[in-house]
Symmetry: C2
Subunit: 207 residues, 2 copies
DNA sequence: GATAATATTGACACAGTGTCAATTTGTTTG
DNA sequence: CAAACAAATTGACACTGTGTCAATATTATC
């Protein structure tokens, strides 16, 4: 995470240190409060640097959070990039449920940061955009998976993969934030299982 | 919408007029801009009243929007309250698709106001709470419908109705806002059809 | 028409933001 | 090594918007 400081000259090193101080302070303040109520002034104070300094390193609160988000986002991308090459419908279901579970588990693990991120999505345009990128990456990936399953004769071929993928991801995303807010009564496994069941085989049995 | 002014004494009437002036101005300013960039000062100026007046009638920007939301919300509740008593699975699917379509059509019709509402949900706690109420009403209703269908032997009995309802509503809600933002490529009918198809019969055909 | 009740008003104190000229710290060069 | 230069840091300042409240204006009551 930290860049290699050994080769830097003293000047550059000071810059990096200041940046780091700001990020550490920002993380702490964000987690202790909301995104909205957190002020740059608080972060600056905590970091022990002069007021203007924060604006030299970051454009504002938003950019500070975006940098802090990056780790979490990497983990999401990892989940999105999991391979999907089922041989049978059963296998597909299993893999889909696994991915849904992994997704929600990530929400649980990164709850604190995601709590802040969720608030920030509402308030900040830049962060909303950032989140959309993550979402689109997931959706695109899911679309490809659906396409694959259709081509393999496993999934219904008459549905638009992108439309289906969006709907499926949306349900997952909303539950993700419910988990983050600790508003769910059910366990993650139960949620993933239920969502997957409906998604793959539907609520109404076939004739 | 307007209350009956005929019986009011002059004083009360003045109050109502002022309130109305503020609401009209607020609607105009909100629709011309965002929720975030709209300032109370703008609304006050537009309404042609003194600065403090707005704070006498409303707690702030949020409450102003909440009052403006009410009409739209009524229409949503109407959609939520549509009867659901299918005799067959086919009938159920049809009714579900109809409701999904109605829901998205409402998004299209009330696009402008909902655009503002969506932004406000992000920023304002009060409005987020208000929206959650609407959502819960929908989800509760859908849960009951699922329960009904399960009891009637139409729907899979092994799934938790509330969990399923949430997932289903979430997908619809996200598409609602996509429609509001005019970010969809597909038509409303196609979206409703696809969502319903996956919801009712699943992406993977049964054995 | 005097008094009481209520509604309106805008000046004010406050909180937070972002900028920029001045200052401090570090690097290079003759 | 001491100018001279370059880069990083700083906090005072101007600005935007909010919410409050004592003063003022309007309407009701006796």
């Amino acid at each position: 995470m930290k860049s290699d400081e050994s080769k830097m000259d003293k000047r550059h090193l000071r810059t990096v240190r200041t940046r780091e101080k700001l990020l550490v302070a920002a993380r702490a303040v964000f987690l202790e409060n909301d995104f909205q109520t957190t002020t740059i002034s608080q972060i600056i104070k905590r970091a022990g640097v002069g007021y203007g300094t924060a604006y030299v390193h970051f454009e504002g609160k938003d950019e500070l959070l975006i940098v802090l988000m990056e780790d979490v986002m990497d983990r999401f991308h990892q989940v999105a990039e999991q391979p999907f090459e089922p041989g049978t419908a059963e296998e597909a279901k299993k893999q889909i449920e696994q991915q849904a579970t992994a997704f929600l588990q990530l929400a649980e693990q990164e709850r604190e940061m995601l709590r802040v991120v969720e608030q920030a999505i509402g308030v900040s345009y830049v962060i909303r955009t950032k989140w959309k990128q993550i979402r689109e990456r997931f959706i695109e990936r899911i679309s490809r998976d659906i396409h694959y399953a259709q081509a393999a004769g496993l999934a219904r071929p008459d549905l638009n993969p992108t439309l289906v993928a969006r709907g499926w991801f949306f349900a997952n995303e909303m539950y993700l934030f419910e988990v983050v807010r600790e508003e769910t009564t059910a366990t993650i496994e139960e949620i993933a299982e239920t969502l997957t069941a409906v998604y793959t085989t539907g609520l109404y049995p076939h004739d």
